[in-house]
């Protein structure tokens, strides 16, 4: 009797375990495939904070300067919009947690999203998963492997943050809190990506869904932190929780519980959704399309437009929202900062101006441009993914020449980025102009500041095209190029990086409009550099093998 009762139980357990069979092998496969990218993001994100913490002492050596910093920056809504609320700027740890915390969480979340998608939906998308699924591999093995590898990356990042901060002498409790907040935000977005991977049929779609959640929750935190009467909004966002742990400022450990809960719930939903769909399919299935092509679908550009328009539209909406937000808050910078010399100097290092508002607008234009450069990479790398998906060959076997095919795609990184900057500049300028009652003066100035960034963005497009044309197997390294430029420009000045390093980023050479003088020279040579890189890339693409 006992035996008969036990048997179904044990069979059940076996079956449960069977769903995970092969996970170990898939994890090893994923680690093998990510052997370069995984350590790189762990180390870069993990070491970022300690680089910033190290230079705090150098920038703010005296107590008076630290008090001034607290008074000026701590309550500035425009800065809390970007970095979150400052809880304690009088210590290196508190400063680091404020200045880096939200972004460490953001970068880790992004890395986790890409990692999960890469090992789950993308494997199905390319058809490789079918090959594995037919072997002794359980139903949940691929998802589990993706989740484990992303989680491992986030955990390692958190540990590295903790160890490196404690290593440069920061209090251990705060170091643990910052590391844990970062890692757990990574876990939460690992769960989000696990859900997204079940919804969309395509890896591009899964990444898009998860990135949209990331953008929206980051925005919730930004608005909640910047607007005093809506601070509850940031409590709806994992990024809000990551900052509300208050590392180095009397840590509130219980907030970490919210992140754990979010990770568990999202992960669980992902696992529950998985068996509700067929392998290779998504919960959202493609709707039937027209039986005939519209009259206009007759050129490589018409096809490129079909392929790029969805992503471009999403980016444009995002840029309009962020631009409007920055614009509506810009005028607040000058009020709060007052005349604290140290703070002004610090902020001037970023914006290059004594005029706080203009400096803020200038650095916003720079940040927008750096984010636009991510779109540029995405749109340019699309050429390579079309190529590896074997969708280029049938086109190039028609009367479409290589140049016209590439040019049709390059319209998007080159002019799409211009559209993004124009939209962001216009939205910022419009709302800022309305607020300070100087639309006629502010709108063109802010729009101009945004558009002046374009040559630097084009350099990224040029670099990505050059990689695609000359070293197609390394085409995705364009992401690394954009990331390096972004890190240099965002954190280089704070980390006391040398001028030589700062000069590497094209964004450093753009005149910091609207405060600084307009100089055409850097714009001209950056444009020329972009053109040369584009030319090199296209020449390489014309001469190389396809495939």
């Amino acid at each position: 009797m006992t035996a008969t009762l036990e048997r179904p139980g044990s069979a059940h357990t076996r079956q449960q375990a069977g769903h995970l069979v092969g996970t170990r092998h898939l994890v090893r496969l994923a680690l093998r495939r990510d052997r370069i990218v995984l350590p790189v993001w762990i180390v870069v994100i993990g070491m970022l904070a300690s680089a910033g913490a190290g230079s705090y002492e150098a920038i703010y050596p005296t107590q008076a300067e630290r008090d001034a910093l607290t008074a000026s920056m701590g309550s500035n809504p425009s800065l809390t919009l970007l970095y979150g609320p400052a809880f304690d700027l009088s210590t290196a740890g508190g400063f680091t947690a404020w200045r880096f915390g939200a972004f460490l969480a953001l970068f880790t979340a992004l890395a986790c999203i890409f990692t999960v998608t890469r090992h789950t939906r993308q494997e199905e998308d390319t058809g490789r998963h079918e090959l594995l699924a037919s072997a002794v591999v359980g139903r949940y093995a691929a998802l589990t492997a993706g989740v484990l590898v992303a989680g491992l990356g986030a955990l390692a990042t958190g540990v590295l943050i903790t160890v490196s901060l404690a290593g440069v002498g920061m209090p251990v409790a705060g170091s643990v809190a910052l590391g844990a907040g970062t890692a757990l935000t990574g876990f939460a977005f690992t769960g989000v990506a696990a859900i997204a991977a079940q919804i969309s049929e395509y890896s591009r779609g899964a990444n898009g869904i998860a990135a949209a959640v990331l953008g929206a929750t980051f925005l919730l935190r930004a608005v909640g932190d910047a607007a005093a009467d809506a601070s509850w909004l940031s409590w709806l966002s994992p990024f809000g929780w990551a900052t509300q742990v208050r590392a180095f400022a009397d840590e509130r450990w219980w907030v970490l519980g919210l992140l754990v809960l979010a990770a568990l719930v999202t992960g669980l939903v992902g696992y529950l959704l998985l068996p509700r769909r067929d392998v290779g399919m998504g919960l959202i299935q493609a709707k039937p399309g027209p039986a005939r092509a519209a009259h206009g679908l007759r050129s490589p550009f018409a096809l490129a437009w079909r392929l790029h328009r969805g992503a471009l539209l999403g980016w444009i909406i995002g840029f309009a929202v962020f631009g409007a937000l920055f614009g509506s808050l810009a005028a607040g910078v000058g009020d709060v900062i007052g005349d604290s010399a140290e703070a002004q100097e610090m902020f001037a290092r970023l914006g290059g101006s004594q005029s706080m508002v203009d400096a803020f607008l200038a650095s916003m234009a720079g940040i927008m441009a750096m984010i636009a450069s991510l779109y540029v990479v995405q749109a340019t790398v699309r050429m390579r993914s079309e190529e590896t998906a074997l969708r280029v060959e049938p086109l190039l076997a028609t009367s479409v020449s290589r140049l016209s095919w590439a040019a049709s795609h390059l319209v998007f990184p080159l002019l799409g980025s211009a559209a993004l900057l124009a939209v962001a500049g216009f939205a910022t300028g419009l709302l800022h102009g309305l607020r300070v009652d100087d639309l006629g003066g502010q709108l063109p100035a802010v729009l101009g500041a945004a558009m002046a960034q374009l040559p630097a963005v084009w350099v990224v497009a040029g670099a990505a095209t050059a990689l695609f044309g000359l070293l197609p197997k390394l085409a995705t390294a364009a992401w690394a190029v954009a990331a390096v430029f972004l890190l240099i420009s965002m954190f280089g000045p704070i980390a006391n990086a040398g001028q030589l390093v700062l000069d590497l980023s094209p964004f450093q050479h753009i005149p910091k409009l609207p405060s600084a003088e307009f100089t055409a020279t850097p714009l001209v040579w950056l444009s020329a550099l972009a053109l040369v890189l584009l030319g090199i890339g296209l020449a390489g693409f014309r001469r190389r093998d396809i495939g």
Binding site: R298, P394, L396, A397, S399, D545, G547
Partner: protein
Amino acid sequence: MKNAIDVNDLRKSFGSTKALDGLDLTVAAGEVHGFLGPNGAGKSTTIRVLLGLLRADGGRVNLLGGDPWRDAASLHRRLAYVPGDVNLWPNLSGGEVIDLLGRLRGGIDQRRRDELVERFDLDPKKKGRTYSKGNRQKVAIVAALASDVELLIMDEPTSGLDPLMEATFQQTVQEVREQGRTVLLSSHILAEVEALCDRVSIIRNGRTVETGTLADLRHLTRTSISAELAGHPNGLTSLEHVHDLKVDGNKVRFDVETDSLDEALRMLTSIGVRNLTSQPPTLEELFLRHYTETEIGSAS
């Protein structure tokens, strides 16, 4: 113009791997030419060079009187290509892809397109992956066949089609042949090549090992004979071109090369034949023998 395709001593390496090692291929205008070889023999590489997608390391390539690398775009107006692996755009329907590819080739015959969609039983409203492999191939096949071009290059076009669609495909290629167009058909499916092709080139390890009409190639093959004789089959072993001889009492089985067939039959009838079946050489055998024997040859 005599030849649609003229390839001479074509060479192409990927790193240290020699994909093509002195390949020759001649396709006369108006013929259906079978392009046979095992996996990795270099069929797709050759086709990609012909399309100007890969740059040849050496040798001469002439396609429709031009250089496929230099004149790619203009030559491509006169040809249509069906890839071996068809991948469609996720957000485009099959019908849109057919129209787009046709238009990019310089025009599509709408009536022919609709007729082909019907004959291949293709739902043109589906998108991207909702098509099976076979249906994705049908999209590419319809797009190619509906285009008004003089040369069709097809890389294992039927590897995902069911037998019914395979028959439809063969019919449509016959029609193309009757219209006087040229077809280069790479294939594994030998029955298809036997049914469709005027001439065949067999390649292996990046070289052409045999080329000619099917009749030309049959001299390489053997006929399988099994017979029940009136007496013991002595003397068969002394024949030169007899292989795999098996004797079981008065029953005998052997393969004989076509050149010695006459002699072998004479010997059998001299003993007295009670029952005899002979199998004509199929392309399968031709294929198998070619590869197994060259394999043994290269191994020794």
